[in-house]
């Protein structure tokens, strides 16, 4: 049996290109502007490590950013007493991101379609739609303060 490094508490951190191991990370973010980078930097790195294409990485980054900003700003309303919980899983075939806030939630179906003619120039209301478009699946819990997003990797063309 080949010699292996002893296991650590974060074995997924040792993933290398081509390694099929999943990377998992859960953490709590403070409800302050800019806090998303505490997770997105590692997430982007791990998507690259697991072989995701630049355009998929862009899509997942955008969805994660929108979900976390929504949770911090609209969910927790920047309340320093509340946190946003983020859980990520990245494998070569699936990227899954769950974002939960401590706010009262919202009804995602109540967000007007920003593509309607009379809404085209409204400055807000595009985040959820971009999340839906760029991810394979997105689901909110019943109260609307937790969202689970998943992207499945498309097989390479050709």
């Amino acid at each position: 049996m080949p010699h292996r490094k002893p296991p650590t508490d974060q074995p997924a951190q040792q993933s290398e290109p081509g390694d099929a191991a999943e990377w998992r990370r859960e953490l709590e973010l403070p409800s302050e502007r800019g806090a998303s980078r505490l997770i997105t930097e590692d997430l982007l790195e791990q998507l690259g490590v697991h072989g995701w294409s630049p355009s998929d990485i862009f899509a997942i980054h955008l969805a994660a950013e929108e979900a976390i900003v929504n949770a911090i700003v609209h969910g927790n309303k920047l309340d320093p007493g509340k946190v946003v919980r983020v859980a990520c899983v990245v494998s070569p075939t699936v990227a899954r991101i769950e974002v939960a806030d401590e706010g009262s939630g919202f009804d995602p179906s109540s967000v007007p379609d920003c593509r309607l003619e009379d809404r085209l120039d409204a400055p807000n209301g595009r985040g959820v739609m971009l999340m839906r478009t760029f991810m394979t699946r997105i689901e909110y819990n019943a109260s609307g303060n937790r969202v689970l997003m998943e992207k499945q990797r498309q097989p390479a063309e050709g």
Binding site: R33, G34, S55, F58, V73, C114, D121, P123, M129
Partner: protein, 118 residues
């Protein structure tokens, strides 16, 4: 002329060319500052022909889209014109998904955008 931290502003003839200094436009504080600098070009300096050159911009969030939409409104209500150029494919896709390509005048590169002002 105002000092800018988020944009680089130059002029070619009557056209004001704006380039973005951040590769990723996502930090909320940065977006607020970016908005204020862009709006100042219209509201304080009364610039009528604006070209936003997105060369080097790799990422922008929906909050940044909001600022671009508000800027577009301000330019139009000031009887000015705004065009965009050098948008990378992923960001162009964001504009297409949100149908913002219907309200923004998007050109391939700076030369094409400049000639479209004529």
């Amino acid at each position: 002329m105002a000092t800018h931290r988020r944009i680089d502003v130059s002029k070619l003839g009557d056209v004001t060319i704006v380039r973005f200094l951040d590769k990723k436009i996502l930090d909320e504080a940065g977006i607020l500052e970016l908005g204020a600098e862009l709006f100042g070009l219209v509201e304080l300096e009364n610039r009528k022909s604006l070209l936003l050159n997105f060369a080097g911009v790799e990422f922008l969030s929906s909050a940044a889209l909001g600022k671009l939409i508000t800027l577009d409104r301000k330019v139009k209500s000031n009887k000015g014109r705004m065009k965009m150029s050098n948008i990378r494919p992923e960001i162009l896709e964001v504009f297409q998904i949100t149908k913002l390509n219907k309200i923004f005048d998007i050109r391939k590169d700076e030369a094409e955008a400049i000639s479209a002002f004529a």
